[in-house]
């Protein structure tokens, strides 16, 4: 199955979004967002994989050694930082919301409507 790793990424994304849609707890929802995001790591790394390739670090292997794509790894690093910071910021909002509202249940947030 040469498409399986790609399909796994799509599956992870939809699972994360499903969690967001059905979430009953905002902390859980932020976690689900991180799950949905991890699909991008999987897809990036799957796209950059090369059969028989090693890590693209040439301290101890010759520069002509077959390596996996370094670009997607750099992009994944950026992506991880983005994900971590967004998660931190959203959790900060949830912490304050919990203090003001006394709840982290999205069903109970009813002051912005219509």
């Amino acid at each position: 199955m040469t498409v399986l790793p790609y399909l796994v990424a799509g599956w992870i994304f939809l699972v994360g979004v499903y969690g967001l849609v059905t979430s009953r707890n905002l902390i859980h929802a932020v976690g689900c967002l991180a799950v949905a995001q991890s699909s991008t790591y999987v897809l990036l790394l799957a796209v950059g994989y090369r059969r028989g390739g090693t890590a693209p670090v040439f301290s101890d292997v010759p520069p002509d050694r077959r390596v996996v794509d370094p670009v997607v790894q750099a992009l994944a690093l950026t992506d991880i930082v983005v994900g971590a910071t967004v998660t931190a910021l959203l959790l900060a909002l949830v912490v304050q919301l919990r203090k003001r509202h006394g709840t982290v249940d999205p069903d109970a947030l009813s002051d912005l409507k219509g």
Partner: protein, 608 residues
């Protein structure tokens, strides 16, 4: 220094300013941090205007191309990131920077900055926001665009939730953050698909590589995913739900930026990515894109106008008017003509000034009366004649009154749209009239105390508008900057429509923007592209008449609403639509997925 070398500075200077303010803000008195913030925002504004003058004025050619880090292409291939300024991109960067300066001037001294031991934090965040938006406008690399997209997002979530003492801002910021981040991840999935197919990340490089073969499901999926991310930022239906919730609760200066430029950058992103990547034979066929954007744009415009009319929370009303106008911008882009792009560019320019001025006026109300509720404020603001006049002029300009820039942009965009479908000008007139009318209705009630006191609707969800002032306490006297800045912004919107040079530049910017081959040649082959000759732009006669018509309709609607309020039966019809705006994050995410499906269905016929 050559023009291209200035582009990274437009991004770097505000970043440096933010670092200085974070490091030294605590030690410095407020007036110094304010002045530093203005200086670090004004310098890139001057640079962006200089770049705009150079690329728009011919001479060195219409494209400034800068390979960051000096990683130039060799044999058409490279590893670096490119920044590209054409007149439209440079113009947007200039608009962003000028508006940031206006916003910092508006919040000068009076805006309360709560973290006591972190002076300058608010200003630093605004500078970071500026850097993100300018970077997004100037980048020629798809992944780099994602990075700046996320930077804009992260700063905007923090700024939206700035007033942590109340629960509404936190709720709005959370919806904003979750929906926009999810959109960003969709965009990244799309970028990854394009990278897998073409092995490129630059817009021009991907576009050229795609054109080597016929489009297939992968190209379509990549387009849908990337467009989803950008349309979420643009707040197009059904991705729009976050916007009213966030705009209603963000501090006034932040609203000016969110509504004035950030949302419009989403539209810009869709148009830029389409023209540079997907407009060729290997991309998404033109009729499919036109159909998709026309459907989404029309829905956005109509729903935004309807919801705008039904609001009593004035900031929320303005937010829905932004949704409605974004729909019109998408429609102007959808027809895929240079005239559509240049008309939309002028419309965005005028709208930015008008909408920021309107938010500025509402900020005065908020800080004086601790309310932005049309019903509560009924007849109370008669003591603020200057604010009232500015607000009314803003409402008239929003409805497309000539000779405001909004009027000219609307006239040119609706003319271009009318060539694609005869009924589109009617949409422009209707939406301008309803949104402008809603603002005028507020002006009549709040500033003139006209008609009878309004009654609350009893048939559906409603958000009322009590809120805390942002100035540390209720204002007794309105500070000069809080009136001077809206006045200057309205004057700017007027000058967009009056100065012939602006329209001529926009006309050329539109032709360059839609010339995918010229863009690729300038970026990839380093070939100087001949600047098209400037064509003088005139106010089209039908456009003037339609602008007067929509203004008259707006005034009539406002008068009807105030003196002949509708029966409750009529308002009950809109309740189901209003119930969709439920404030529930799960709902918004579900609608995002539906939007992706809709986008797929609308563009899938191009698949062979």
């Amino acid at each position: 220094m050559d023009t291209a070398g200035l582009l990274p500075l437009v991004i770097a200077v505000p970043l440096l300013g933010a670092a200085v303010l974070v490091a030294g803000g605590r030690r410095l008195p407020r007036i110094v941090t304010d002045a530093l913030g203005c200086a670090f925002a004004a310098a890139p504004a001057a640079l962006a205007l200089l770049v705009l003058a150079r690329v728009a004025g011919g001479g060195a050619g219409p494209y400034a191309v800068e390979w960051v880090g000096g990683w130039h292409l060799a044999g058409g291939e490279g590893v670096g990131i490119v920044l590209v300024a054409d007149p439209l991109g440079a113009g947007l960067a200039a608009l962003v920077s000028v508006l940031v300066v206006a916003v910092l001037a508006y919040s000068w001294h009076y805006f309360e900055e709560p973290p006591r031991r972190h002076g300058g934090a608010f200003t630093a965040l605004i500078l970071l926001f500026q850097a993100g938006m300018c970077g997004f406008a100037l980048t020629g690399d798809l992944f780099n665009a994602f990075v700046f997209f996320e930077l804009m997002g992260v700063v905007a979530y923090a700024l939206t939730g700035y007033r942590v003492e109340e629960s509404r801002p936190l709720h709005g910021a959370l919806s904003f953050g979750i929906v926009n981040s999810l959109g960003g991840y969709c965009m990244l999935l799309g970028i990854t698909l394009l990278y897998a197919r073409t092995g490129e990340l630059g817009l021009a490089q991907i576009g050229r590589a795609l054109d080597g073969r016929a489009p297939d499901g992968l190209v379509l999926a990549a387009f849908v995913l990337v467009a989803t991310g950008l349309l979420v930022k643009a707040a197009a239906v059904p991705f729009h739900f976050w916007l009213p919730d966030a705009h209603a609760v963000a501090p006034t200066p932040v609203c000016m930026l969110l509504s004035g430029v950030m949302v419009e950058l989403g539209v810009y992103g869709v148009a830029r990515v389409y023209w540079t990547v997907f407009s060729g034979p290997g991309g998404v066929p033109h009729p499919d894109l036109t159909r998709a954007l026309l459907v989404i744009g029309t829905l956005t415009a109509l729903l935004g106008a309807l919801m705008c009319w039904r609001q009593r929370h004035i900031k929320r009303l303005l937010a829905f008017s932004t949704v409605a106008h974004t729909g019109l911008f998408l429609t102007g882009v959808a027809v895929l003509s240079p005239e559509g792009v240049s008309g939309t560019a002028l419309y965005v320019l005028g709208h930015a000034g008008v909408k920021a001025a309107l938010f500025g006026c509402v900020g005065v109300l908020l800080d004086r009366y601790a309310s932005v509720d049309e019903h509560e404020l009924y007849g109370r603001a008669g003591e603020l004649p200057v604010t009232g006049v500015l607000f009314t002029v803003g409402g008239l300009a929003l409805s497309g009154l000539p000779p405001f820039g909004t009027g000219l942009g609307k006239a040119l965009a609706e003319e271009a749209a009318g060539q694609a479908a005869g009924w589109l000008p009617a949409l422009f007139v209707l939406v301008s009239a309803v949104t402008g009318g809603a603002v005028l209705r507020v002006a009549l009630r709040v500033f003139a105390g006209a008609g009878r006191p309004p009654r609350a609707a009893e048939d559906g969800p409603e958000t009322t508008g009590e809120a805390e002032p942002e100035t540390g306490g209720r204002l007794r006297r309105v500070p000069v900057p809080m009136l001077a800045v809206p006045a200057a912004l309205l004057a700017g919107a007027l000058s967009v429509g009056v100065l012939p040079g602006v329209a001529a530049t926009a006309e050329r910017a539109g032709r360059l923007f839609t010339d995918a081959r010229g863009y690729r040649a300038a970026v990839l082959d380093g070939r100087p592209v001949a600047a098209p000759a400037a064509v003088a732009q005139h106010w089209p006669t039908t456009g003037i008449l339609l602008g007067l018509l929509s203004t008259a309709l707006a005034a009539a609607l406002a008068a009807l609403a105030v003196w002949r309020p509708a029966r409750t039966g009529a308002t009950a019809l809109t309740a189901p639509v209003r119930r969709l705006q439920s404030g529930h994050i799960g709902d918004y995410v579900a609608w995002l997925v539906v939007g992706m499906a809709l986008l797929t269905a609308l563009t899938a016929t191009g698949l062979r």
